[in-house]
Amino acid sequence: MRYSIFTLARQAFSGHRRWSEAWRDAEPRPGYDVVVIGGGGHGLATAYYLARNHGVSRIAVLERGWIGSGNAGRNTTIIRSNYLLAGNNPFYEWSLRLWEGLEQDLNYNTMVSQRGVLNLCHTDAQRDAFARRGNAMRMHGVDAELLDPEQIRQMLPLLDFDNARFPIRGGLLQRRGGTARHDAVVWGFARAASALGVDVIQNCEVTGFVRQGERICGVQTTRGTIHADRIGMAVAGSTSRVGQLAGLRLPIESHVLQAFVSEAIKPLIHGVVTFGAGHFYISQSDKGGLVFGGDIDGYNSYAQRGNLPTVEDVCEGGMALMPALGRVRMLRSWGGVMDMTMDGSPIIDRTPVEGLYLNGGWCYGGFKATPASGWCFAHLLARGESHELARAYRLDRFASGHLLSEKGQGPQPNLH
């Protein structure tokens, strides 16, 4: 069923009782051309682009729980392409361009809202670094504006501009950045993939791999053995665990990242504001809740929940940036498990095991990458070679020395 104003009107006349299911909750078949492990945004996008761009016909997405139950439903929904490095920027810019056309492409309202992403700076050195990053973005054809404090004051009058420790000296604004509705992205890709014949299989946990000599030719699951020519992992957060089933040891640590939402209030913050010096960022959802977060807790964790010192630290950051936030009550907090790589950049590559491909290591920046990640991983799975935009995301870069580190922190995942 195609969604449109006419469909909506027709359904309204029948009391909205005749909407069909958005996607098929499929049963596993014995074999596929490609099996994608992980029914989050990245896995579903991969399946969609495999079917749409490459004409692969027999595709399954295997999800341990329900689709979008992992990090796809736990992030803070920000989309942007304000990266410095040449290995990163064109990839994220392609992702942002896909976001810009995603609703028409998927025929699904993913609520993409280009309300702007503003990074604040507090020293001359930081402003120089922002100017450099903005220039790098513009050289890649990406929009970037360096703002002075007066321009920011007009946008966000309630910020603490004259904070004794971190006075606001300016900011780097990407107007095309913004937010999208994370659950709708999952549902939209699932619906569009399902319409192209992809089997979206829920409650199907991968428990092992089927080997034929050195090659992997299938997966063992809680719903039986499924054979496939090629298998793609898109299980960020659990990449080490699934990789271990295939004998892989990876340059990844799993860390917990917390996020928070306040009670709903009237419009206060138009776009996304990041306060890097205070380890804090914030935006406001369409429902009115302030959505905010900070750093990862900083220790290995698969718990999907964090600890209170980080909650306190994030709230202190918010109070330092915008003292008026002290009047707002925090409603909920939650945690997600991040694949923190050793250089802070993702991996989209074949693995040393024939037949097995890896998409992971998204650190805490995976949501914005969803469409391009699926686009490039589908290319890799269909053609057997890296997509031009993802060629820096090689697994062997740690051995070859071609690291891709935006922050240059060294192999210490809790500092990225």
């Binding site: 080490s240 665990r241 990876l250 220790y299 290995n300 718990a303 600890n307 010192p309 050793m342 051995a399």
Partner: protein, 92 residues
């Protein structure tokens, strides 16, 4: 999460700094496959979901390095000792 420091008693996690997996051993640079061993030591991790041996520094307390055994699924502390060769008085 609280860590029972052997010198300071049970202390809040915010007093500690985290380094990571305690299994890091600096490879011998004179072995034939030293480059491969260095890549493994510097970049590759077991990253288990379950008990994990890891190094914590009590930076806001006694400033000792501790080797903690902790369950990464629950954050439960399973065991702990002072890290390094001074950990065992018998070993000198």
């Amino acid at each position: 999460m609280r860590i029972p420091c052997p010198y300071c008693g049970e202390r809040d996690v915010s007093e500690f700094a985290y380094l990571g997996d305690a299994g890091y051993v600096r490879p011998d640079p004179d072995t034939a496959d030293a480059p491969r061993r260095y890549v493994e030591a510097v970049y590759l991790r077991d990253n288990p979901a379950g008990p994990h041996e890891e190094l914590w520094f009590h930076s806001q307390g006694c400033r000792q390095w501790l080797q903690v055994r902790r369950d990464t699924r629950t954050h439960e502390i399973l065991g702990l000792r002072v890290a390094g060769p001074t950990a065992d008085p018998e070993a000198g």
